[in-house]
């Protein structure tokens, strides 16, 4: 009897799993396409700009095209992986990952480029403008050592503090501090949320600080910051991560789609390929989400209501 049972169990298992090979590249989220709705799964990265892209795309997909949208928060590199496997359908804001591009777009062909987002990104070192006004020469890296004392915190030990953010961000800061002989300690805030919270606390007290930051970013509206000049960026000066001694490049941000989705994603894929707006547009939505604490869908609704000429063009 027991043998019969085991055989039966094995048979059921084999039947249930479809006896053949299981393709891990074709597994959508179990929450997708529920109740007969067409679902698009978008990845959201941890910064607010990315949330703004997704919020607006989601709003339009849901209200203009009749899709149901799932969002999953994933860091950049794992998002590439998820995109390749079809767990998410699109990344709307990529800051440049040559290694991943080579692997997934060119070699494996599981991801296709979705074109420019229309927003240009730039990473740099920033000090608050109130500090830069008081000490105008702080905006050149050559003078940074003079201010190390002022920028010291409990975390940075005897050196000045250079605050970095989430570990998922592209950063050469440790190498830069070493190679430019700066008397600074890179303190990793560990997440953008922590970094923003700390910047706001510093700004409230008008305290000086030096931070890794990037544009476009809504926080500039609230805490005006001035960029510190680093040695100028030249093509290839950041090729060896240990020897970097130049500023960060200017990056036109890109969209990427899962290859299968780009092919037969219908209107949704078409829409996401055409999605393209400006830095000001993105900041407007970001500010509503982060500063006015509006829910992303409400912020998107508000923006959509007043910018019809922009998004009309995106609809297929």
């Amino acid at each position: 009897m027991s043998r019969k049972r085991i055989t039966a169990a094995v048979a059921v298992l084999v039947l249930a799993t479809g006896c053949g090979a299981a393709d891990m590249t074709e597994q959508a989220s179990p929450f997708a396409n529920a109740q007969g709705a067409r679902t698009v799964t978008l990845s959201v990265q941890s910064w607010v700009g990315a949330q703004a892209n997704v919020a607006v795309a989601q709003y339009l997909l849901e209200h203009e095209l009749g899709y149901r949208v799932d969002t999953v928060q994933v860091d950049e590199v794992p998002a590439w992986d998820a995109l390749s496997q079809g767990r998410v359908d699109a990344i709307l804001e990529d800051w440049g990952h040559p290694e991943q591009e080579q692997r997934y777009v060119r070699d494996k062909g599981t991801i296709t480029a979705g074109g420019d987002l229309g927003v240009t990104g730039h990473i740099g070192w920033f000090v608050p403008t109130y500090f830069a006004k008081k000490h105008p020469d702080v905006t050149d890296w050559k003078n940074l050592n003079k201010y190390a004392e002022l920028l010291r915190t409990a975390e940075s030990g005897g050196k000045g503090q250079l605050m970095d953010g989430s570990p998922s961000y592209v950063t050469n800061d440790k190498a830069l501090v070493d190679n430019l002989n700066l008397d600074y300690q890179v303190v990793f805030a560990g997440s953008e949320a922590a970094q923003i919270t700390q910047i706001e606390q510093f700004a409230k007290e008008k305290k000086p600080f030096l931070t890794y930051w990037y544009t476009p970013q809504w926080l500039f509206e609230k805490v005006p910051m001035t960029e510190v000049k680093l040695p100028p960026y030249k093509e290839g000066c950041d090729a060896d991560p240990a020897k970097v001694d130049c500023a960060y490049p200017v990056t036109p941000l890109q969209k990427y789609l899962n290859a299968g989705f780009a092919e037969d994603g219908g209107e949704a894929a078409e829409f996401l390929k055409r999605f393209r707006w400006t830095t000001e547009d993105q900041n407007e939505v970001s500010l509503m989400i982060a500063e006015q604490k509006m829910r992303p869908d409400e912020a998107a609704k508000k923006w959509v209501g007043s910018h019809e000429s922009v998004w009309r063009k995106w609809l297929p």
């Binding site: 794992p78 998820a82 922590a194």
Partner: protein, 647 residues
């Protein structure tokens, strides 16, 4: 900590207890006298010698590349992992679709009716209220996603745990083999092994479910084995004398007798699976955890709380219902017919809800709590952060704590020669346990050195020690107060529930807002998380002290302080040690997550590994965390194993 971990001198027979401790220390001293000069002459210096490290980043990087390149084509993935992954996706999807089809009215009704039969009217009402609150907070769909994930993860954990427990309960050899495995699984901070699961299964639900099973199965296994072993011998003999076969005995006597333990196991598994549901959001599990995590990204404590409350409600309701069901076992069985009626009633409500169009939670019924919460948090941070007269602001405290406690502790630990750290670990673990625990602890610590992460590990260790010290001071004081006053304990209970079940991610932002970026907020978050377990175990231990001993002390005219110091605390020594042990394990789990708010060290490396898909960094840091957890667990391990994690 030293006062607790040192062998307690029982007033009655000090000599007997002291002698083995002295002997152990003597043996260690002799071993050290021989080994240390050897080690120092070969590999001097304070930090772990380079000659004794193994660089695993090369092979790990290659392994990670191999997996990514072969994931879509290799038979191992096509015929094994792929199917596992598919089954998980299908199961979760089935449950999720069922929940959506039943609609919110149906789900609430079914939940309440089950709670009513299993645990009584009061819990039925709370269950209904909890479900409605989830809808009210605008979290109905995420709650259903989490629930679907939980159902599958809990079923899988219970099945795996019960099988392991069955093996361990029936065979002594399996028990010996499994015990260290389960021990290890229980001290692993979940954050440490997310990366390898993600690499194999990719982001999303399958990885989340599997990580949850690793995390939540051990208590089930342990309690199953405990229940089978604890079955009344006389009953078993009686059954045996009836001429039953071994299998009949198992099914008709041993398993039914172990029902209470089994249910407790299910209860523990549910609680752990829920806490994992949030951590798994880092790898794209979706549901409530994802909402908390997304809110964290936009520094929105209110939104994080709105998603965190349903998790707390689910946890409290599930805990109470399964707990009450366990206590009611054997009282009066509900007949199958009653269950049938219940099912029919629930189905009727669900159908009625469907017909009335009550399927999706109506948006108009959502209450927005995010805004008031955010205002409260803003007020708090604006007024407490700095410039408070006399006591100084929280930022000043954090800075002082960092410069006066964390920095010296870290620098001190890193300054200590590596062999002296090993010696100290050996001495502590041996004094409190057996030579085996000491050996495990030393080997774990040595493994950290071999992996080449000695300094960051000591940094993490310093944060753990500081957080444990604070937790114990507050926890013991609160525990003692709770043990002495029933009213205080009643007031405390809901607070502890909330602290214990609120996802850690929710309070990461408030602690940054209060304490700035760095190690101080990580320590603060760890204290908040570990406190409830310490308070509970302390209070329980003190309350269980033999009343006769207290009575006799009282009759001798001891004051209440004397009673506490000389009778209650020494007699509750075992509980206090368990509290220390739990405190250490829980603190470690959160200090790691503190990598998200500037805790640095191992926690940052794990987050970095996850974020950059860097297996070498992430996995080495994860392994070091596991070793650190093992070492800390063994060093603080009371002689009798606990039965559950998280108390």
């Amino acid at each position: 900590m030293a006062t607790v971990t040192a062998p307690a001198a029982r007033p009655a027979r000090p000599g007997v207890l002291r002698r083995p401790a002295a002997r152990k220390l003597l043996v260690l001293a002799v071993a050290a006298a021989v080994l240390v000069p050897l080690a120092v002459s070969r590999w001097g210096g304070a930090t772990w010698p380079d000659a004794l490290t193994v660089d695993v980043s090369g092979p790990l990087g290659r392994a990670s590349d191999w997996i990514i390149d072969n994931r879509d084509s290799h038979p191992l993935f096509l015929y094994f992992f792929g199917h596992v992954s598919n089954v998980v996706v299908l199961a979760v999807r089935a449950v999720y679709l069922a929940l959506l089809a039943v609609g919110w009215a149906g789900v609430t009704a079914i939940g309440a009716l089950v709670a009513w039969r299993a645990a009584g009217v009061r819990l039925a009402l709370s269950t209904a209220a909890a479900f409605l609150a989830c809808g009210l907070l605008g979290m109905w769909v995420p709650t259903m996603q989490t629930l679907a994930l939980m159902v599958v993860a809990v079923l899988a954990s219970v099945a795996v745990g019960a099988l392991l427990g069955l093996a361990a309960g029936l065979s002594d050899r399996m028990d010996r083999v499994l015990r260290p495995v389960l021990d290890t699984m229980q001290v692993l901070p979940a954050f440490a092994y997310l990366l390898p699961v993600v690499l194999v299964f990719g982001i999303g639900v399958p990885a989340a479910v599997l990580a949850t099973v690793v995390y939540a199965a051990p208590p089930m296994a342990r309690l199953t084995s405990l229940g089978l072993r604890g079955a009344d011998k006389e009953v078993l003999e009686a059954v045996e004398s009836l001429g039953t076969t071994a299998r009949q005995r198992l099914l008709t006597a041993r398993i039914p007798l172990a029902r209470k333990e089994l249910l407790l196991g299910v209860n523990q598994t549910i609680m752990m699976a829920l806490s994992m549901a949030v951590i798994a959001s880092v790898i794209g599990a979706g549901g409530l955890g994802d909402r908390v995590y997304q809110a964290l990204a936009s520094v929105d404590v209110g939104a994080a709380l709105a998603a965190g409350i349903p998790i707390v409600l689910l946890a409290v309701v599930l805990d109470r219902v399964t707990g009450a069901a366990g206590e009611r076992l054997g009282e009066s069985e509900t007949s199958p017919l009653t269950w049938l009626y219940l099912l029919v009633a629930a189905a009727a409500v669900a159908v009625a809800g469907r017909l009335a169009g009550f399927l999706d939670w109506p948006e108009a019924w959502e209450a927005d709590i995010a805004e008031p919460v955010n205002r409260a948090v803003d007020w708090m941070t604006a007024h407490l952060y700095s410039g408070v007269p006399v006591v100084g602001g929280t930022a000043d405290w954090a800075a002082h704590f960092t410069s006066w406690v964390l920095n010296p502790l870290r620098d001190g630990l890193q300054w200590l020669p590596w062999w002296s750290v090993l010696l100290a670990v050996a001495a502590l673990a041996w004094l409190i346990g057996t030579w085996r625990t000491a050996l495990t602890a030393v080997l774990a610590m040595a493994a950290i050195g071999v992996l080449g992460v000695w300094n960051p590990s000591l940094d993490t260790l310093s944060q753990v020690l500081a957080a444990v010290a604070v937790t114990l001071v507050i926890g013991f004081a609160t525990g003692i107060a709770a043990a002495r006053s029933d009213r205080f304990e009643r007031l405390l209970r809901p607070v502890l529930d909330v602290f214990q079940t609120m996802p850690q991610f929710v309070y990461l932002i408030p602690v940054v807002a209060l304490f700035g970026v760095g190690r101080a907020p990580a320590v603060a978050a760890a204290v908040v998380y570990a406190l409830p377990a310490v308070v509970r175990i302390t209070a329980q231990g003190l309350r269980q002290v033999d009343p006769a001993a207290l009575e006799s002390a009282r009759s001798l005219g001891a004051t209440s302080g004397q009673q506490l110091r000389q009778v209650q605390l020494p007699l509750a020594r075992r509980s206090l040690l368990l509290a220390v042990n739990q405190g250490v394990v829980l603190v470690l789990a959160v200090v790691i997550i503190g990598g998200l708010v500037g805790g640095g060290a191992l926690g940052y490396q794990v987050v970095f590994g996850l974020a950059q898909g860097d297996l070498a960094t992430g996995l080495v840091a994860g392994a070091a965390i596991v070793c650190l957890g093992l070492m800390l667990d063994r060093v603080t391990q009371p002689s009798e194993r606990r039965t559950k994690k998280g108390a």
